[in-house]
Symmetry: D2
């Protein structure tokens, strides 16, 4: 356990990078020593993110997104907040230089690089790293994360889907081929990129599905569900873009296995998560609402049995930039460094 | 066929009532002769709806929501834009006075009043009227609507679910017990009623499911799906409230029956709707987006087959206040009166 | 007067172009014969604007933004919905080919090209055309618009400011140097252009001033106010970007001239606008709200005298894409062609 | 100085109350011992505010809004988050019982109860308390707040107007009768009250002025401006409701006094606020944007001189629930208790 660790954020100009900065400003043990960006070199953090002007680190200047500069900053741990495909370039050299890497992209999440290449349409240059990375979903891989040097932080949609389902699949409560998922995400999930599709006037007063029927996140979701179930799992998944800045809401339908007592769903979820500080299992009539989790690292989960159809309905809400990205990554950092899992996050 | 018909709107102070007024202002054959409200008696339409100030009918004063006053207005056709439970009180007396009734509430949609009472928790006082009403989903009941005197206009969620599914169930292309629906609605669907849950600050930056697992609209949806399939159909349905004023987006998963050629889905939908002016079947990569249908009577529908899971995905978008309420009602009026189905609606 | 006129829209891919198409679909006398765009050549209108799929003109293909192609389309009147600086290139050749031009950009609004060049930072290539164009603010220049061949349609902010002020300045009711304006505009005013500043996640839950203290529209506003007052007028004007798609709200403070009876404000405004179908002067306690004018060509205006400060407050609301752009242009077309000023617009 | 103080929040069910709870959860010195509400007695904080479920104090039950119960809770300091008119009832008895009171309502802000009664239309029952309360605008009354027992926390609009203006008026840089203010507020400012005007569907895609020309906050604004200027000051002030949940943006026009060097504005503002941790004076081209201050206690201020009109323009942005309410109150608590002014607030 380290009482203090120097960290860098690579590709810090986007929404996940900004949220990482917010988390690190408040962190009692991590010390931010470098922010990198191809385009913002020399600008101070506070001028790039006016929200943080006058706060800790606001005078820190952006440096170039280059490995030698990152190493020279003294960083011991590096967050990669880069688009998929780019994290490949950084992780290997940084690891060889002795730094630890928490990657927020999809690059090291998929163990089978053939699956990666099928879903992402690009060659994977670091299959050995993909094979040995730890999947950064703290509640599920807590033990493996301790002391890990390469963490592939879970994606935003996957987190909202995997946390409700994994305990139930592990306990063989669900028919593995019965899972159907409908998710809604805020527009920050599309990144701070100049595209007409994400203009205010295109997203306001609009709801639309996209990535139908084969969204990229399926690769990662099905890998983890299959691991939990012990058999290959294929699911239906439809993401929708809705006019909120932050938040993901997921609704899941699944069929209990024959003979399963529906009381067990709650018991199994409680057993899985009662020690996890960021999973809230809702009681009574409460249902998840993204407005209760935005700007926090919580994921709220509820479940219902529908006797009319025999199906179970699982619902979750999280902030896509916190529990779905930056908060998740800091939670992994906390575990990796042996700190309290919630350090800096509440 | 009548070249002109006098119409009244009962309970015109809500969002559906306002949208009916908008449609009637532009209608070439219908003449608005009365607007009623319990609370607005004496106020002019233009003062209640500043949007329509200075337009046709803006000087029309609201009258009391009482049958004699409605009859005295000379109205030949009456739209009931009342909460469910209240339409019961008006429909019988109006019909007996020789007027025709287009009801926008749920009161006459459910043929089996026991089902109505189960889902709505109230006694039904006019079972005979419920039994003989015509379900106001123009694309499906066009022939029965001609000359009808009591139309139970289809609900907003049901319209978005039934139009994609009915042709496929009629042709026996889907497993009836495989249907799972996820819908998202704008906040105007909750009505112009002072409730904290629907305040701006409660709905903005928020997404939440509600009515889980047994939303009232299931009664009507399953009645119509069962009729189309020829067997009882039970579905999973989860509505979500999202921060838009108008619009419903529906995503449906279903399993094709064994041996069904997936090419047939498109053919069957085209055969069902190619003559229907308000159903647009999207081609190519296009997917429904509520922003393309708001303020119009269109419903946009797309479908995909997912070879990974074997399921078909159906998606639709409509304006909950137009195709899901007032536009649907005017479309029924047009058919009922023998006018062009699209009169005043494009 | 022509019973029918062929029109083209040049640069039809933006929000003003889309709104022009919406107006022309409903227009009884104008026939849309060409839509142009540099990037959409060959695509049909309905595929570019899914909202209009299946409607009139939806099969019309976009053609190149080139003068010979426009002339060959048979168009008699051309709407230029281009960025400022580009309209210069088209207007002269089109006029020389005998077409009439309604320009929605700023290029021909400023009579003094030195002022244009000061505010827009570019050389003006057609000073003679600027000098003889008619300013397209129908309520003020109605007579001059009849038979005009080059109309410089008024800008969105200017319309919201000029209509309340011009009658009062003409009657010498206000101190010319006392005018201070605060406007708020929806994000569609920034155009359908891929810029990070106008992403949903940058505009939602945000309000910000911009163009302080010298917004480009001042050139046009002050030209017209000076004309009305008979003396040079300089005003303070601060535009703000707010999270709505459509709508401009303007609040104006001004000082009545010494000895002016404040009752005269209402009288003068009524005298100026009582024959104008799109100006609504609000009575009683009503104040303008953009939600009552969106998707319509109305501008709502209210005024108050504040005895505590002696100032008068004028407030207006309009849809920036309709009364502030496309609706205004069609209103000018109607006048220019001798049709009812409101044709196709209500 | 106390290392720890027990605090209660009276009327904690609204948005300001919720925000106070958020601040207190994170506060290192204040200990929350009681939450009161007329309607929520017995419910736990975490069930009333699902956002805070599982966090510090989430099991604290609401108690009745009654003085004996509050005193019995052991609270030493009480925040009153009540509607104006109600705080009157609580402050006197609590003070006499030896507690200190931070009132977030308008009840003790106005020194001259005749002015209070003019603007609020109600009799004032505690003129002596109004006379001796300290106005809770920390940057201006820091010294008087130390050890105060009754703080009348500044209102949301007033804070956004007073902080830019007071230093300039104190230095006699502005013509006192030249001030004209335009503010925009998010809908949370209207409170968590069930009123149709504040429904999502009434506020979304809407902008509207209200309280024209004599908004209640003028009483408090003019009292403080007059105090700073040393002469009576009357201003024009128009608030607007815009579709954001949180945030106030204010734009102010004023005339420099004859002969004033405009360079002095920046100098005076820096001298006034360089030691104030929550006032950020923006440099360069930056202008305030509410999205940079929401969920924080910062107020961002910028200023510009317009040589064309001779006026100065001052702009500010704050979160109406934080710097405009709960954060301001906690900042006052920190000063009152002798803690670091920013304790728990960054």
């Amino acid at each position: 356990m380290h009482s203090s660790v120097k960290v860098a954020v690579v590709g810090a100009s986007g929404y996940s990078g900004e949220e990482l900065v917010r988390q690190l400003i408040a962190h009692p043990h991590a010390e931010l020593v470098a922010l990198t960006s191809r385009q913002l070199v020399g600008q101070t953090m506070g001028s790039v993110f006016p929200r943080f002007a006058g706060m800790r680190y606001s005078e820190l200047p952006f440096i170039a997104s280059e490995v030698p500069a990152i190493v020279a900053s003294g960083a011991e741990v590096v967050f990669l907040a880069l688009p998929h495909g780019l994290a490949h370039e950084f992780a290997g050299p940084l690891l060889r230089a002795g730094l630890r890497v928490l990657d927020l992209s999809a690059d090291f999440r998929i163990k089978d690089v053939a699956v990666y290449e099928e879903f992402y349409g690009e060659a994977h240059h670091e299959p050995a790293l993909a094979a040995r990375s730890i999947y950064g979903l703290a509640e599920i891989y807590r033990d493996s994360l301790r002391g890990a040097d390469l963490v592939a932080c879970a994606g935003c949609y996957p987190t909202s889907i995997l946390l409700p389902l994994i305990p139930l699949l592990r306990e063989e409560l669900l028919e593995p081929d019965s899972i159907q998922v409908c998710s809604m995400s805020g527009v920050s999930g599309a990144g701070r990129t100049a595209k007409i599709d994400y203009l205010y006037a295109e997203c306001n007063e609009s709801v639309r599905a996209y990535g139908v029927p084969k969204h990229r996140h399926l690769a990662e979701i099905e890998q983890e569900l299959s691991g939990a179930a012990g058999v290959p799992v294929f699911i239906s998944f439809t993401p929708h873009l809705i006019p909120v800045t932050r938040g993901i809401h997921t609704t899941i339908y699944a069929k209990p296995r024959s003979g399963v007592d529906v009381q067990r769903f709650g018991e199994v979820l409680h057993r899985a998560y009662d020690g996890s500080p960021f999973v809230r299992l809702l009681e009574g009539a409460a249902l998840p609402d993204t407005k209760h989790v935005t700007h926090s690292n919580f994921i709220d989960i509820a479940w219902r049995h529908d006797p009319r159809t025999g199906r179970v309905i699982l619902l979750s809400a999280e902030d896509n930039l916190v529990k779905g990205a930056a908060g998740q990554a800091v939670q992994c950092l906390n575990i990796l460094c042996g700190w309290n899992e919630a350090s800096g996050l509440l």
